[in-house]
């Protein structure tokens, strides 16, 4: 084929330009460390990169969430532990007081101690976290959860909602527990049935803890033990329907009273006409319990030790329930912390996998690029050298 002079030069120029362009591109890749200099270099890859970066951003976010959540849970854990220890102390004191005898002055001192514990519990319930939010107010985080009203006593001002935090795809973990769970969702008695002595009783009857009953077996019933004259028998009355269920049941102090599957030991000598009530358990705010105990202790002597013992028995039942509840809350927090660890591990392994894929698409394989660069540079050099050798071949040189 005929090659014109112009074509000859053009061909060489084109060839050198192509080699130079390859060299330049490889150089740019090496200096930036990226295989993908422009999105159009690998359009599928560029799109996948957007998707991967989105997922990595989400995982990073979950990491941050997990850390903050963990901080809050640890704060909560510490508060609940403290509550538990206050309750333990209170229990010890109350058992001590119950085992008596003590003087009025001592009772007053105990009253003061319990008042302090009550205030401590209240301030623990009003704990604020690092952000200034009330931790145990549910989602009403600007509102102090435990307040005292002269008329109605201790009230829970928060709500029962919780805040959920996303920690992994499709997975949320609760941020905390509400004060309702902690102090208010506690039942009296054995959490099924509660037994109490009427405050107008004149005798010495002290009714002890209610034994185990199956939950739900007592709902709605209000049954009363009324002592006859002489007080060695009692009648069992259904208060709601005003019917006597059994009459003249004989009694000796220390007997266990059995009603509808609920049983409690009655110590001491009841007087004629003394009443003891068996009802289904109600919720009672722990602080209210403490309050009641404090006022009983302050007035103990003037109304007799019997009433105090009855009150302490009731109080201890409630405190035991509270202790159980604090353990339950604490173990919930512990479970959440464990889940966080597992979630964090899982998120991390996802992160590694995404990072690897991202790197495969985007980052340069230095070895391959360096080899490519040296091949392209020698190709360019060869093109230039061969051009130099043939460019001055012309017949005119010989004429």
């Amino acid at each position: 084929m005929r090659i014109s002079t112009q074509q000859f030069f053009q061909f060489n120029v084109n060839s050198m330009q192509q080699h130079a362009a390859s060299v330049s591109k490889t150089q740019a890749q090496l200096s930036s460390g990226l295989k993908l200099l422009m999105p159009a270099d690998d359009p599928n890859g560029a799109t996948r990169i957007l998707g991967l970066e989105q997922r990595l951003a989400t995982l990073e976010q979950y990491d941050r969430n997990t850390t903050q959540l963990e901080n809050n849970l640890r704060t909560e854990e510490a508060a609940v532990e403290q509550i538990h220890s206050v309750l333990d102390n209170a229990r010890e004191r109350l058992v001590q007081i119950n085992n008596g005898p003590h003087t009025q002055a001592e009772h007053k001192t105990f009253g003061g101690e319990l008042a302090q514990m009550r205030d401590q519990l209240r301030s623990l319930g009003n704990t604020q976290n690092a952000n200034g939010e009330f931790m145990f107010a549910g989602t009403a985080t600007d509102t102090q959860p435990f307040t005292r009203d002269a008329g109605s006593g201790y009230q829970y001002q928060g709500n029962q909602q919780t805040r959920d935090i996303p920690v992994a795809a499709g997975r949320t973990i609760a941020y905390g527990d509400s004060g309702f769970d902690l102090f208010v969702d506690i039942f009296t008695g054995n959490q099924g049935v509660t037994a109490s002595a009427d405050t107008a009783n004149s005798g010495d009857g002290v009714i002890g803890y209610v034994g185990e009953t199956s939950p739900g077996s007592y709902f709605g019933d209000h049954l009363r033990v009324v002592f006859n004259t002489p007080p060695d028998t009692y009648d069992l009355v259904d208060v709601a329907t005003v019917t006597t269920l059994s009459a003249g049941v004989s009694f000796t102090p220390g007997d266990t009273i059995n009603i509808n599957g609920a049983s409690a030991t009655l110590d001491g000598a009841p007087a004629a006409g003394d009443k003891f009530d068996f009802q289904s358990s109600q919720r009672q705010n722990l602080l209210t319990t403490f309050d009641a105990l404090v006022s009983e202790l302050q007035t103990a002597d003037s109304v007799g030790v019997t009433r105090l013992h009855n009150a302490i028995n009731r109080g201890l039942e409630n405190i035991d329930a509270a202790l159980e509840q604090s353990i339950a809350v604490r173990s919930r927090v512990g479970t959440r912390l464990e889940s966080l660890d597992a979630v964090r591990d899982a998120n991390q392994s996802f992160e590694i996998s995404y990072q690897t894929t991202l790197s495969e698409i985007r980052d340069l394989d230095y070895n391959e690029a360096a080899a490519r660069l040296s091949a392209e540079v020698s190709a360019l050099e060869i093109a230039q050298a061969s051009f130099a050798r043939v460019q001055n071949l012309s017949l005119f040189n010989y004429l």
Partner: protein, 643 residues
């Protein structure tokens, strides 16, 4: 005899002199672009009969032949057109690709950061600094939409400028071609059918330049002039007349230029202009830039509507229901010239069903409205009205006259008009406006399983701000049955319906009329109660914020198949694929062009070695011819000496 030899010698001298002139012309023009080499054709003169024998009479130069392959030239023109078109399109594709996929200009990182800020806020919803960050990131996202869309709009303006430039270049070339046609016709007439080679070369060069701008086809007339037609057959040069092009604003969208002939402003030939860089500009506008802007607008309106819908279901720090978070504009509607009705109401009712196409609405002879999808040309009658729904749009049809037309661009301006409405961080609605409380005295364990607010435009929320009307009391008659009460006066609740069966985990049917769905779980006991009221103090809640975060993974686009970022990735991926295949095509046409040029050069190009050899050949022939004259002269001298 002597005159015979002299004459023959002289003819040889002249012929070889002319041949040498041609060779030196070739050498002189060896590097001129588009020059076709010329070679001489020598022919022996007719012999003369003398004494029974034919004696030759010398040589004549009968033709200076121009070496050209017109077929290859046409191919080259076609390749130059394609290359012009592809390289123009590629330039715009690359710019848009970089704009969309780049870290610092693309939308995807802005989405990521916006949702990250909302996640941070969900951990601490009442923190004002955290809320400020969310607003800042939302604003960043909005700005990105605006900037990307404005940059693309900038390209449109550039295209208009370039169209103007290229149209004047075409006009200049056309005028020059017409002039050349005149000269060539004159020269051909003078040369008795022989063409003036260099003029022809010049014309070929102009043709090539012109094909770089627009695809042309040429027809050569018998007088040597060439008619040039553009694109699909629009005349540009006919004989010695050049038809000038000009530009005018489009009748329905005055921001873009159409192509027409000077003096014929009613004739829009834009669609007939194809190929070359002008065709590339028009294609880029229609097939790359418009769809990108439309799709960005679609994404903007999907974001706006879905975020606003969810935000309105929440409660802000002031205890108020959430207001709109984002705002975009409305579809652009332009009335045709000569319309009797100058506007038409169009709103976007469902971004999920949008196709990204523009529409032309025509009123036909019987007063019916027909919508034409400008992407695929499909026509859809819009029915009698008063409104019609099509592809996620709602048209309000008023009485128009036959011949009225409208251009509807549903999402064209929405990405640049996207804005953030909320500036007060307290107004971000993160909490749920509904609070359910189990009564303190409940014996059972029934509590909230799930609470979803579905409609805060319901009168339950709107009758009184900051309260639910009515507040609800759910009372359990026994473990398996409950009744709903209006709890406006807690002392005397009013029954709202019959006793219903309690199914844990199922939404309570009686409550969905109030705009929320409530599921209860757990065992109930007779006498248990729950109250449902406004969540006035629950400002630390994050339920609505979680729902807004969840929007990132929900499908709002492409008929429920794509999330915001997936839709964006599809857009980027589409542009990327076109850019990449455009690069391949550009390479391939470049290669084909090189090959064609090589073939043309092998026919028409000057090879200096060849010319050098020819130079020697004709030089020797000239010297030999000079010698024959000397020999003739010697003969004459000898004769003279004898006498």
């Amino acid at each position: 005899m002597a005159t015979g030899i002299l004459g023959i010698g002289a003819s040889a001298l002249i012929a070889n002199q002319q041949a040498l002139a041609t060779v030196s012309h070739n050498i002189a023009n060896a590097t001129v672009d588009g020059y076709s080499r010329q070679s001489v054709e020598l022919q022996a003169r007719l012999p003369q009969l003398n004494g029974g024998n034919f004696f030759g009479k010398g040589v004549d130069l009968v033709n200076v032949r121009r070496h050209v392959d017109t077929y290859i030239n046409e191919q080259i023109s076609g390749d130059i057109s394609r290359q012009g078109q592809l390289s123009t399109e590629q330039a715009y594709l690359t710019r848009i690709d970089n704009l969309l996929a780049n870290e610092s200009t693309g939308l995807s990182p802005a989405f990521d950061r916006f949702f990250a800020a909302m996640q941070d806020m969900s951990l601490d919803p009442s923190s004002l600094p955290q809320r400020e960050v969310v607003l800042q990131r939302a604003n960043d996202l909005v700005q990105r939409f605006n900037t990307v869309s404005q940059s693309v709009g900038q390209m449109e303006r550039e295209i208009n400028l370039q169209i103007g430039d290229q149209v004047s270049q075409i006009n200049t070339l056309a005028t020059n071609l017409a002039e050349l046609n005149k000269s060539i016709a004159v020269a051909t007439a003078q040369g008795a059918g022989q063409a003036a080679s260099d003029l022809l070369d010049q014309r070929d060069r102009l043709h090539k330049q012109l094909s770089g701008l627009v695809k042309i086809s040429t027809i050569t007339q018998s007088d040597g002039s060439t008619n040039v037609f553009m694109g699909d057959g629009q005349a540009l040069v006919v004989g010695t007349n050049a038809f000038s092009l000009s530009t005018q604003p489009n009748s329905l969208d005055s921001s873009r230029l159409d192509i027409t002939y000077q003096g014929l402003s009613g004739l829009n030939i834009t669609d007939q202009v194809t190929g070359g860089s002008l065709g590339g500009l028009l294609n880029s506008r229609l097939e790359v830039i418009d769809p990108v802007v439309n799709q960005l607008g679609q994404l903007a309106v999907a974001l706006e509507q879905s975020m606003n819908d969810q935000h309105r279901l929440g409660m802000d720090l002031n205890g108020q229901l959430g207001a709109d978070l984002f705002n975009t504009g409305q579809p652009i509607v332009a009335a045709g010239p000569g319309n009797t009705v100058d506007s038409m109401g169009v709103t976007i009712s469902d971004p999920n069903l949008l196709t990204g196409a523009d529409y032309r609405i025509n009123v036909d002879a019987s007063g019916d409205y027909i919508a034409t999808n400008l992407d695929d040309g499909s026509a859809w009658p819009l029915g009698p009205g008063p409104t019609a729904d099509l592809d996620g749009l709602t048209f309000s049809l008023s009485t128009g006259s036959a011949g009225d037309s409208f251009l509807v661009q549903p999402t064209r301006g929405l990405a640049s008009s996207l804005s953030l409405v909320i500036s007060d961080p307290r107004k971000l609605a993160a909490a749920s406006p509904v609070l359910v409380t189990s009564d303190f005295s409940n014996q059972g364990a029934v509590k909230v399983g799930d609470l979803q607010v579905t409609d805060t435009a319901n009168t339950a929320f709107t009758a009184t701000t900051g309260a639910l009307e009515p507040p609800i009391l759910i009372k359990f008659i026994d473990a398996n049955n409950y009744q709903l009460f209006d709890n406006s006066s807690p002392a005397t609740p009013v029954s709202l319906g019959p006793v219903a069966a309690y199914t844990p985990g199922e939404p309570l049917p009686g409550l969905s009329t109030y705009g929320y769905e409530l599921q209860l779980t757990g065992d109930a006991v007779a006498g248990d109660q729950l109250t449902v009221g406004y969540n006035t103090s629950g400002v630390g809640g994050n339920q609505n914020m979680l729902a807004m975060i969840g929007l990132q993974d929900q499908n709002f686009l492409s008929s429920d198949t794509a999330t915001y970022q997936e839709s964006y990735q599809q857009l980027v991926g589409g542009i990327g694929a076109r850019t990449s295949s455009g690069a391949v095509n550009l390479d391939s046409v470049g290669f084909t062009l090189e090959q064609a040029q090589a073939r043309q050069q092998s026919v028409a190009g000057v090879n200096l070695d060849e010319e050098a050899a020819k130079l020697l050949e004709f030089q020797q022939a000239y010297q030999a011819a000079a010698q024959t004259i000397r020999a003739a002269d010697k003969l004459f001298q000898s004769l003279l000496e004898v006498v």
